[in-house]
């Protein structure tokens, strides 16, 4: 077992030496900010003559806010990603693709307030021992909640680094007791025309649905996600429960899940149905397979100064060690 099974869910099993006091963390952030400001200032001075843009604030020094203390009790995870600068809470929660609440990236932060996240339950159906409904509070208690930072790569060629909270989806799947004939798993997202009033801004066949092969769903990296930045998920990020698959384009990571279905055959999935030549069923991050309308070789990291945003996209978004073996022998150009 790779993960340390904690005795308690409240984090009391973490040695106090491993916990960074809040004031130290804030001091660290403060120092990072002032360093960035200095660098931005230097670059701005250099470029000002050409651009006349010394004070183009948001381009040189993107907004950084320290988020309030988390509400979820979490434990560290060996599966977290190190060495990346986190995208700010502000950016993670105001730049969302959640088309049920509007196609504009800033719309869900305003429009998703009406999403009724309590009471909430997830219906488990299809090829299982016994169909059942799992309450969100049972999901929260099923396993210790881990802090897992992952890179997030959108198919639109932008990326973020997000400190999610959750545990491996495999824990929940075991609880669902799928039959051995189950080869695929499908997720359904919440949909109610009275709540998701912005659904008609696109001609998607709602509700949103995504699917995975069973081995992908059982991969330890596949995160059943209930929070970010130590706090419960904001509605616009897919509250109260979603999945996160860091080696796939973001649209595979279904939000606000109300049903999980186990199947023998590959299920239809929303974007693959919409445009099969543009959005594959697998949708693994792959710099060598371009979207028909744009290159996937590079991405822009949200929140960095504009001149430092572009970076090369990594195969499987840099998670090849964990996931590449699942696709051995598959032609990833055809099965994109």
């Amino acid at each position: 077992m790779l993960l340390r099974k904690p005795n308690a869910l409240d984090g009391s099993d973490i040695p106090s030496s491993e916990i960074t006091p809040r004031k130290d963390y804030e001091a660290f952030l403060q120092e990072q900010r002032s360093r960035r400001r200095f660098l931005a200032g230097a670059a701005a001075t250099a470029g000002a003559a050409a651009l006349g843009a010394h004070s183009i604030g948001s381009l040189f020094e993107p907004e950084q806010t320290v988020h309030a203390a988390g509400k979820l009790q979490t434990v560290p995870s060996p599966l977290t990603t190190h060495g990346e600068q986190l995208t700010s809470y502000q950016d993670v929660t105001t730049f969302n693709n959640f088309y049920e609440f509007g196609v504009d990236k800033s719309a869900p932060a305003h429009n998703a307030a009406g999403l009724p996240t309590r009471p909430w339950s997830v219906h488990v159906t299809g090829l299982v021992q016994k169909e059942k409904t799992i309450d969100i509070d049972s999901i929260l208690k099923l396993h210790a909640l881990e802090d897992r930072t992952y890179r997030h790569r959108c198919v639109e060629a932008w990326s973020m680094v997000i400190p999610w909270v959750g545990y491996s989806l495999s824990e929940l799947i075991r609880e669902c007791q799928p039959l051995s004939t189950a080869k695929y798993v499908q997720f359904y997202s919440y949909f109610d025309k009275k709540v998701d009033k912005w659904w008609s801004e696109s001609y998607i066949d709602w509700p949103y649905s995504e699917g995975l092969r069973m081995d992908e769903a059982m991969n330890p990296l596949t995160l059943l996600t209930v929070g970010l930045y130590g706090d419960v998920l904001p509605n616009q990020n897919g509250a109260p429960v979603r999945v996160v698959l860091p080696w796939k384009y973001g649209f595979k990571s279904a939000k606000s899940i109300v049903a999980i279905k186990f199947l023998a055959k590959q299920p239809p999935t929303t974007w693959n149905d919409m445009a099969p030549n543009e959005y594959g069923f697998y949708a693994n991050v792959n710099p060598n397979v371009d979207h028909p309308r744009w290159s996937q070789k590079t991405e822009r990291r949200i929140g960095l100064p504009f001149y430092a945003q572009r970076r090369n996209t990594l195969m499987f978004n840099g998670y090849g060690d964990f996931v590449a073996s699942m696709y051995n022998g598959m032609d990833l150009r055809r099965n994109f």
């Binding site: 843009a53 004070s55 183009i56 604030g57 948001s58 381009l59 020094e61 993107p62 907004e63 502000q90 950016d91 105001t94 730049f95 088309y99 196609v103 504009d104 990236k105 800033s106 639109e156 932008w158 008609s200 801004e201 696109s202 001609y203 998607i204 919409m274 445009a275 543009e278 371009d290 309308r293 744009w294 290159s295 822009r300 949200i302 929140g303 504009f306 001149y307 945003q309 572009r310």
Partner: protein, 204 residues
């Protein structure tokens, strides 16, 4: 129209045309361009260009429907040039903020990404129109030839709208409103021409 009225109206149109630029400048200085300022600048400038082109193309049908509003034509050049200004800003945002002025990236994009190909074409078609917008050029070309040249604006708008549709994700209907308005304006021309012909026949 009195000269003072014209000056007042021109000032108002100038101010209105500068609103998108002012909003971008204000947002840039106050850090209010959202999580992705590059995208916001590019999107807002492109949308402003398309909207101004549509407004400038609405002038001729409006004049034909309401002859008393004929004076609107005095604002068409202003609107067209502002559309070109925003289209150029849009292009510069792409060249600078997305491509970092790297010719390799841009050539790859223009050939590979069709929405950028048609976008560049749309802008290129506006260049001769902007250059020949002066009174001197109208005289030099002669009204008929100048008019024929400036029909290129229709092609430019169509390519601009195609650029918008191809840029958004399949299924997103954001470009629909402006496309429908444009389609209406395109349809208005033959309909109004037919009406004029019929009126002329009745008089004859």
């Amino acid at each position: 129209m009195k000269k003072s009225t014209l000056i007042l109206l021109k000032t108002l149109v100038w101010a209105a045309c500068l609103i998108p630029a002012a909003r971008l400048a204000y947002g840039a200085v106050t850090n209010q361009l959202g999580a992705d300022p590059t995208r916001t600048i590019t999107f807002m400038s492109g949308l402003a260009a398309l909207r101004l082109l549509v407004i400038s193309l609405a002038i001729t049908p409006t004049r034909q429907l309401f002859p008393r509003l004929s004076w609107l034509v005095r604002f068409r050049r202003l609107l067209g040039l502002f559309a070109f200004f925003y289209a150029s800003l849009h292009l510069m945002a792409y060249v600078g903020l997305y491509s970092y002025f790297d010719p390799g990236t841009m050539v790859h994009d223009i050939l590979k990404r069709r929405f950028i190909t048609v976008g560049i074409l749309s802008w290129l078609l506006l260049v001769p129109l902007a250059i020949t917008s002066t009174t001197g050029w109208i005289r030099r070309l002669g009204g008929r030839r100048w008019n024929q040249l400036h029909k290129l604006v229709y092609l430019s708008v169509c390519l601009g709208l195609l650029h918008y549709w191809w840029q958004v994700k399949t299924g997103v209907l954001a470009p629909l409103d402006i496309t429908l308005i444009m389609a209406l304006l395109f349809l208005a021309r033959p309909v109004l021409a037919w009406r004029r012909r019929r009126a002329a026949q009745q008089r004859a």
